[in-house]
Symmetry: D3
Subunit: 255 residues, 6 copies
Amino acid sequence: MRRVHIGELAWPAYVEKVRQGVPVLIPVGSLEQHGPHMSMNPDVLLPTAISERVAQNIDGLVAPAIAYGYKSQQKSGGGNHMPGTTSLDGLTVTQTIRDVLKELARHGVRKTVLVNGHYENSAFIAEGVDLALRELRWDGIRDFSCIILSYWDFIDQASIDTIYQGDFPGWAVEHGGVLETSLMLHLHPDLVDMSQVRDHPPATFPPYDFFPIKPEWTPESGCLSSASRASAEHGKLILSVCVQGIGDALRTAFD
Amino acid sequence: MRRVHIGELAWPAYVEKVRQGVPVLIPVGSLEQHGPHMSMNPDVLLPTAISERVAQNIDGLVAPAIAYGYKSQQKSGGGNHMPGTTSLDGLTVTQTIRDVLKELARHGVRKTVLVNGHYENSAFIAEGVDLALRELRWDGIRDFSCIILSYWDFIDQASIDTIYQGDFPGWAVEHGGVLETSLMLHLHPDLVDMSQVRDHPPATFPPYDFFPIKPEWTPESGCLSSASRASAEHGKLILSVCVQGIGDALRTAFD
Amino acid sequence: MRRVHIGELAWPAYVEKVRQGVPVLIPVGSLEQHGPHMSMNPDVLLPTAISERVAQNIDGLVAPAIAYGYKSQQKSGGGNHMPGTTSLDGLTVTQTIRDVLKELARHGVRKTVLVNGHYENSAFIAEGVDLALRELRWDGIRDFSCIILSYWDFIDQASIDTIYQGDFPGWAVEHGGVLETSLMLHLHPDLVDMSQVRDHPPATFPPYDFFPIKPEWTPESGCLSSASRASAEHGKLILSVCVQGIGDALRTAFD
Amino acid sequence: MRRVHIGELAWPAYVEKVRQGVPVLIPVGSLEQHGPHMSMNPDVLLPTAISERVAQNIDGLVAPAIAYGYKSQQKSGGGNHMPGTTSLDGLTVTQTIRDVLKELARHGVRKTVLVNGHYENSAFIAEGVDLALRELRWDGIRDFSCIILSYWDFIDQASIDTIYQGDFPGWAVEHGGVLETSLMLHLHPDLVDMSQVRDHPPATFPPYDFFPIKPEWTPESGCLSSASRASAEHGKLILSVCVQGIGDALRTAFD
Amino acid sequence: MRRVHIGELAWPAYVEKVRQGVPVLIPVGSLEQHGPHMSMNPDVLLPTAISERVAQNIDGLVAPAIAYGYKSQQKSGGGNHMPGTTSLDGLTVTQTIRDVLKELARHGVRKTVLVNGHYENSAFIAEGVDLALRELRWDGIRDFSCIILSYWDFIDQASIDTIYQGDFPGWAVEHGGVLETSLMLHLHPDLVDMSQVRDHPPATFPPYDFFPIKPEWTPESGCLSSASRASAEHGKLILSVCVQGIGDALRTAFD
Amino acid sequence: MRRVHIGELAWPAYVEKVRQGVPVLIPVGSLEQHGPHMSMNPDVLLPTAISERVAQNIDGLVAPAIAYGYKSQQKSGGGNHMPGTTSLDGLTVTQTIRDVLKELARHGVRKTVLVNGHYENSAFIAEGVDLALRELRWDGIRDFSCIILSYWDFIDQASIDTIYQGDFPGWAVEHGGVLETSLMLHLHPDLVDMSQVRDHPPATFPPYDFFPIKPEWTPESGCLSSASRASAEHGKLILSVCVQGIGDALRTAFD
């Protein structure tokens, strides 16, 4: 396998790839509790794994993952009051994205992809991209492009049907649920302990957010739906669908 | 009708209401193109109208609306390249929310509601609330609470069925569509010109965001779905459902 | 009457006006107590009313008012300890101005006017303009211009003599006094209750500012001078003088 | 003479004075052109000279002057396009003030005086004080006080009459004029060359600010009024009046 | 081996360790060219490897590494003009450190260690710690402690003598030299290609920094001294000395 | 002697020097305790004195010194808990440097030198320079150059031998020691009281930093080594070596 991690290349090898115009994928994750049955790093391990495979397929590179993300929100991640969840202010996320993109542009990279693994990062990533493009424009660089994606948006209905058998609760409450647990079972089985899965119906929330957090709204597990239906096989399917879908999308988008 | 706008009260009257512990609703909008058939202010007029009615019903107050919001995103608002759309950096939105909430807390207000009318504001509002709560905590204020809501999240399935007759395209592409246009037809008919509605199928987007914006992805109208089915009657229904739902929710939440 | 509020135009109509090169006026106000006899919104209502009339006269447009302003200072606004007064940090004001101006420039607007209704905003507006011009310069835009004005600076000596009959206390202590109350009586009589005017001599202050605020320096009313001499007739005169003076000034300045 | 400059004390001597509760004066100036007849440092030299004398009189201390200030405005300082004028962004001024005050508070100082010599600094100093008080409050320090003053506000009518003989143009256009030049002639005669004074009537401006600056509005000298009437004798009078007035004010204010 | 990476623990296991009062080590690195013979990730891999071993020895935990660092300086890292080097603004580094420390403190962690692998990070890490301590103090947390260390400061003279045989050029120019290359040869031999080592005398610089960078001051390799003397054996020795020294230091410091 | 201080020139004289292309030196200091035997201003007085002399020698100018600096670190300055030490946040230092450099560039200055007298400023100065260069680039200014130096880096081994007689403890602990005290004895003997020197061996520290500061690590004097060997004669030598060395370096660097 070709090395795809920028960090593992010596600079002359990196320069050569940049000259070829390859895209650079940047996994963006978080350190966040994902229930008593799973480690706290799926949001960074999963987009990293996907980025590696996509990079292999489309001759791209992978920049070091951004390991801390924006604050967990109760209705999508259980809430930022949970122990272990370790989050950054929005501005810190935005500036990190901005700075990294500008440096890649300085090297000559023109095609970048932010592969997001933590829902709450989305808006602050988008702002970081906007600020980077603005400053690059001031530097006369107008051909730099950046895609933002969340890997789960590439899972098609057929796969959802296969996995959830009609009980799909929506991505919103998939935190620590079947999706992430299956992927982890396939990719990092040592970081999942299925015996610790708490089986409970998907969390339901009122149609608003309340601050300060009402901890009782979050299931005690910290998960928003049960992972009991998770399996390595499902994980393998999801991974394959995401890698294929993202690769296809990037080929088209950067054409 | 009782005056509900804080700005219209003299300070002693405001002090009296604060002493009674009433909630304060703050409409948060934007100045954003909404197609050739509608004015650019629905995102601020609609949450304001709803806030006024809710405030009447639950004995609350309405703070001046925040009239500019975060940057329009292509897949939910057409994109920030559109003329007329006038947006703030994320940090500016966040700081505005933070500052206003802290001032209300200084007055003695303890129950606040951010009534959002512009999808893209959501994350930056949430960050503003988090920063405000943090600083209030440093000031020893720990009983301040804040609800964030987007009014369309209170529209129930029955109303959706009535209005869309099974063709609901999802809130994501409702920008300048049936929802907002109907509400405007009911509340501000002079700001809508139905003869200018462009009838086109809902916009479809790939499952990622591309920067810089590809203008050709946005329909020429700037709307993401057609408003041709909009009517004042639908608007009246939506308004009533939202006002009722939000009022009920607030009564429960602040109990 | 022609529509002058940008927010009330559909985007194609706005684009057409921008193409014609019309100036855009942006009212900048605050939410601030103005005594027991008057609502807390004069600082935003008055520059808005003036902007509308000037825009009619010079074929301009009016952007949505900025409804919250910088912190009330004791010697010009009673102080930021007063209830109801709801202020932003200086940086928030500056960034809001900067962001809005840059967006207008992106649309193609080249002549802008910040019509200030709240004394304390002045320096932070000026900084926002400077930052906007700097960033626009980085974008290669060098023909953007911006005027900052406070409407009371256009009241001539004759009008002052007519209104104050030789007892003009200076604009510094006109907070909640004859000027603003007269304008409100003319424009929004329902928001003034002359029976609640507290008659006291103009506040006097030592030639320095003291922090934290000494509340006893501010008259209990929150006003710095008495509004008892206010009248709708005076308000009509002031409005006419300001609208005329500002219109003339803008015609000359942008020529 | 007792040493009053903090910088000239060893730390144990400083600690001793702080224990006695003495006030600390902080001159805040700028580096700004003041015409062809005078050096560019009067805004820092003059408040420093005054602070030293006041500190002698009231048993206070003087912190190192802040030598750079906010951007020169055309109608009060000629404009920030002038060569030599070297200014900071508003936020930089505000943060400097905030940081210095917080450090003094950490030492135990509770009475501070910002002695301003540059008109344009005023609002950004006030914001710095507000931010410092806020953070000190979070640290449980609630007895810290701060006075902001501009020395010219202590010149009484009698002195104005003596000096200007009825032709007082207002402080607004006193930039590089009789006031500052007289003080410099008295205190630093080597930094003034009266033969280079340009005699012109006071600058007049329209009642608004225009950006970008119209250089032709500023007299070529960079001064806004003529210094030809300046004299060391006038300077001596002004100095004495200011030192006396400020000393008296501080004794009362901190009582 | 016990799991030491926080990211690999489920939240209940993490909570249990926090309750025991264990210290948390946070590797802080960078993505920076290290010559044609080595990958660009040693600054993050090396402190991570050391942190893991120290954590095993003293019963600590390791937080996810911060993978991007402050701008490479010419005299210690070759300069930030080099391709591949991907750096953050100082403020971004500072805020990241601040945010992560505050979150750990929220969880209950009281002993933290920032294990730095990139010289240029030092001051911005220190500022991040100071800001975190300040805000934690505002939250009433006064028993939180933080150690900052750079691993090479724990290499004793005996080891230096063994490795460099009297030719130690100083840590300043050890960028991509014997130290880092030896550690990488021991820990990640696949990321080093000794055949690509450029043998040149240590870089020499004038006693000042020049901006913009003079690229010709940096050896073409990007290294500041030659790695030709590097060996896995040296790496093993250095690793052992650092792990031992840091472990001992932490036991004492947190006692 | 020619006037070298920018602040002492009238603007036309300054313009003339700028046109000649002369370099501008900017002393950057701090207000920091330096033991019971010395005033708290050496970090600003010493680089100012050196800048003046260098400017005389190489036909340069000296900008007003930046009198407050970054937070004192325990192992190089005793720590920021000491009374009298009055420091700025890192960002404040960085922005001050950035703003001043950009203004000098606006005037036409192209050669600048930051003459640092306070070790802890170094990284924040470098960041300020980087930000200034970035923004100047956006303004199309690409020929602006800036040197950062700390004066002690120009003291050669021969002088060290002469002064320390083989007991040189390293610059790290020279805070308030022989170097600074000797220079002050030569330049400002009235600000030193040798009878107050505390004679103690150089402070020793573990190879890490601990926060919050452990006050007991700092000698009670606040000095990190003893100044008892200091003399005016040594000071004269050091000054001469620094002035010569810096002058030579600048002539070469700007050639």
